[in-house]
């Protein structure tokens, strides 16, 4: 148990610390693929440092909610990162929240972000909030369906159990999982505000969703949000790994496997980040009202995956 606690803390801290790195890695890959000279991989850390040092400038009419939100969001993401098994698989936190609760956590963070965005009452803020919720009301159930497919296979909604089933039982091919995987990729693209749904690198009012929400933030608040965003990306990648390529995650209580698991993790993350960057480079940003269609497709795929599970695998 105590080792469990330690492991849990270690993993969570690790996630929190490594998350910006992943972000940096993705940006670097993108730069390479687009033939730009890339910023150093540690650029995100520098940005955070700079932001933390700055004085916070907030609007006159900003309410306490506005200042409270970044901490809330950061905390939620930290918890999420703590729950998803990245290297080890017996985590004292994980009973606290299964996959459904995980979706709940993301939703909580999102709602707070959207509310904070509306707090100042600028045109962009409410615009961003609206678009964010629009994206999420399709992405969230789709994500849930992806999880359901996995849970139907594993007969459980507990991430460790799912991972255990998928990784440590005898190897089986689940066609449903492939559908789920595609759906999951589309969802995570949308949820992490990446191309083709959103573009993290722009402030064009026609396109921006996530950026529009955080326009009013500065300094430490902005830093926390940026960090949370990185964490979110990390968590989603970890989730994808745990669900679809879980091999290598250390089983319950075998500490010997940990270093290996760590290596495997890093490798998968590098690959995943590269893949994300690649896909972002080759695809173009969608018009906003194509986004619901995009996510609708994701939702459909997820449900389809579940049905296929019932057709072929039960």
């Amino acid at each position: 148990m105590s080792t469990g606690i330690l492991l849990q803390l270690a993993q969570t801290l690790l996630a929190i610390l490594l998350a910006p790195l992943l972000m940096g890695w993705v940006n670097q890959c993108r730069a390479w693929l687009q033939g730009r000279s890339a910023p150093p991989i540690t650029q995100p850390y520098r940005t955070l440092k700079k932001l933390f040092h700055k004085d916070a400038v907030i609007a006159h009419n900003a309410s306490p909610l506005f200042r409270f939100a970044p901490y809330m969001i950061f905390a939620c993401m930290a918890l999420a990162a703590g729950i998803v098994p990245t290297i080890a698989n017996d985590l004292p936190f994980s009973p606290a929240a299964d996959v459904i609760a995980l979706v709940g956590i993301f939703a909580l963070a999102r709602v707070f972000l959207a509310l904070a965005a509306m707090d100042i009452g600028t045109a962009f803020g409410s615009l961003g909030a609206r678009r964010e919720m629009l994206v999420s009301f399709l992405a969230e159930p789709a994500l849930l369906m992806v999880f359901f497919t996995a849970s139907f296979i594993a007969q459980s909604t507990e991430l460790p159990v799912i991972v255990a089933t998928l990784a440590h039982r005898e190897f089986a091919i689940y066609p449903s999982i492939t559908f789920a995987a595609v759906a999951f990729w589309m969802i995570s693209v949308a949820e992490n505000a990446r191309i083709p749904v959103d573009n993290p690198g722009t402030h064009l009012e026609l396109t921006m969703i996530h950026e529009a929400m955080i326009l009013e933030y500065s300094a430490r608040h902005l830093a926390l949000i940026e960090w949370a965003v990185a964490l979110k990306l990390f968590t989603y990648s970890a989730l994808g790994i745990a669900l679809f390529v879980p091999w290598g995650i250390a089983a319950q209580g075998d500490l010997a496997a940990l270093p290996l698991a760590l290596l495997a993790m890093v490798a998968k993350l590098l690959l995943g980040g590269a893949a994300l960057a690649f896909l972002e480079t080759i695809s173009a940003k969608l018009r906003l009202f194509r986004a619901p269609e995009f996510l609708g497709t994701a939702f459909l795929l997820a449900v389809l995956g579940m049905l296929i599970h019932f057709l072929l695998e039960v």
Partner: protein, 672 residues
Amino acid sequence: MTNGFYSYFADPVQWAWAGVMFWLVLGFAALLLQGSQRLLIRLVFPLGALGALFIAGVGVAGLLLPASAVILPIGLPDLPFHLRLDALSAFFMVLLGGAAFGITVYAMGYFRNMAAGPLALLILWYHLFLGGMVTVMLADDAYAFMVAWEVMALSSYFLVTTDHDLPEIRHAGFLYLLIAHVGAVALLLCFGVLQGGHGDYTFDTMRLAELTPFWASAAYLLALFGFGAKAGIVPMHVWLPEAHPAAPSPVSALMSGVMLKTAIYGLLRVTFDLLNVQIGWWGTLALALGLITALYGVIFAAVQSDMKRLLAWSSIENVGVILAGFGLTLIFYTDGKGAMAALTLTAVLYHSINHAFFKGLLFLGTGAVLHATGERRMGKLGGLIRTMPWTAWLTLIGALAIAGLPPLNGFVSEWLLLQAFLLTPNLTQPYLNMVIPVAAASVALAAALAAYVVVKFYGVIFLGQPRDAALQHAHEASWPKRLGMLWLAAGCVLLGLFPAQVIGWLSPVVQLLTKQTLVNDGNWLMLAPVSAERASYAPLIFFAVVGVVLLLTFIWVRRVYHGRVRRSDPWDCGYPEQDARMQDSAEGFGQPIRQIFEVFMKVERETPDPFSRTPHYHGASLDKIWFILYEPIARLTGWLSEQAGRLQHGRIQWYLIYSFATLIFLLVFTTR
């Protein structure tokens, strides 16, 4: 029952009846106290609130003690009022009492400035309403049930039409009472079937009646129709978005939070208790109806621009979710999967009580806003979190709860329901476990849309810049109001944080209906309905972790860096001036949803002329069902009555011909 005085107060059911009587006395006392308005506010409402607390207490007692019954000396000669308090009634009494306490305390503040005369009447109806609802839950024979049911409807109608000088409120009240009455007649027929020819209308005989599947189904469908009309199930929902907003906010809170649940109670009572046979397709039907209702409700909630209407539509959504859960319970139950039925039923009950609390809280919040600003249109509100922080923060709790966000109560019931859906592979009918995942998907969709609605609701009303100068001096809610909201908010939090305990309290009810109890595999702080292996959720840990991380981050930031803050104008990509008109209006926020789901709506839009000096935009998304279902019915009756009117021709010879023809016809008819 032993003789002597104590026998009158021996059982919970008698305490409960005493509580009802207390309310009635209070109500009529109000008529006598018309002289002093202060007394009405300061004395009667608090007493009423205590009554609510007492009822809740009795409910708890009823959950712990065995069922008890009593026969009152009133009613029909062969059918005196039978009252019975079993676990099911007890649970709903807890729900009622708990919610009603907060609401009544709030009402103390809400009606503070009302003139004595109308106030006295309002108090009378208010307490009749409460008493009626409790009696519905206690009734153990058809007559008592129907009387209580209609008293509830009637008194709430009079409450809805408190401001009867506004025609639209009169219309709302009329529509409400009409649909309620039609539903009541359907229930009457349902009981007529249930009694199975014994000529005895006590629930005991109904339990014994052996109905053929056909008649059982008839009874079930009638009940579904009758109770559905009260619960606002699509397509009988049209009255709800009219009536709930029309009422004064505490009444809206009671209607949405509690009265709808009496319909759920009735449905459970009839289906699981009175009917001696259940059939699988009933559940499928209820599930389908529930999902349709849920999605329909939430979609329309998203496009409303009147805050109370929005809440009313979201009530429809929640009822839909509850009904879907009910249907799933029925499916499991008829499939012989007692344990799963137990889980699902737990979810249903849990969601019912949750909805009572957070919807009540939200309606009270809107009431406070309404009083402070005199404005119901969200397009004229905004930024109230600065002028009325108490209301704003308390409402935030309700909003997060209704959005089904952890660690609040809304999430727990949703979680349980989804867990139940995940159990469907064990069903024997193959087609069902194919279909039900899709059902799960739509429940999830509804939940996600609910989040959208909440952000719209809260963001537009409480955040942003005030859309109207007058809002600058909106005053904070008075203390009774705050206390009332505080109570309900506390309810939301506690129900969210201690699900294991709540489920423990629910178990007698579940036991009663499904002959099975839900075993919590987890410990006191962890909820694991089936097995810890399968699924678990520990809101306390969850809460603790989030809290701790939040705190640590805060301290860390302050320690390592600094907490300096500078105020300035909003940045907003450097646009020079930001006025309130630039924010999203309620319509604007709902626009994407409207665009996506336009098929369900009849959209009326008038966009301003580009050259007009005073541009104004009007958009309304109307319920299509009204136009494709209700208007034809109205037209048909109109046509029929026109035909009937032709008979009344005015010429006496014709009238003579009628008599003549009738006579001849009967002579022929009888001599055949």
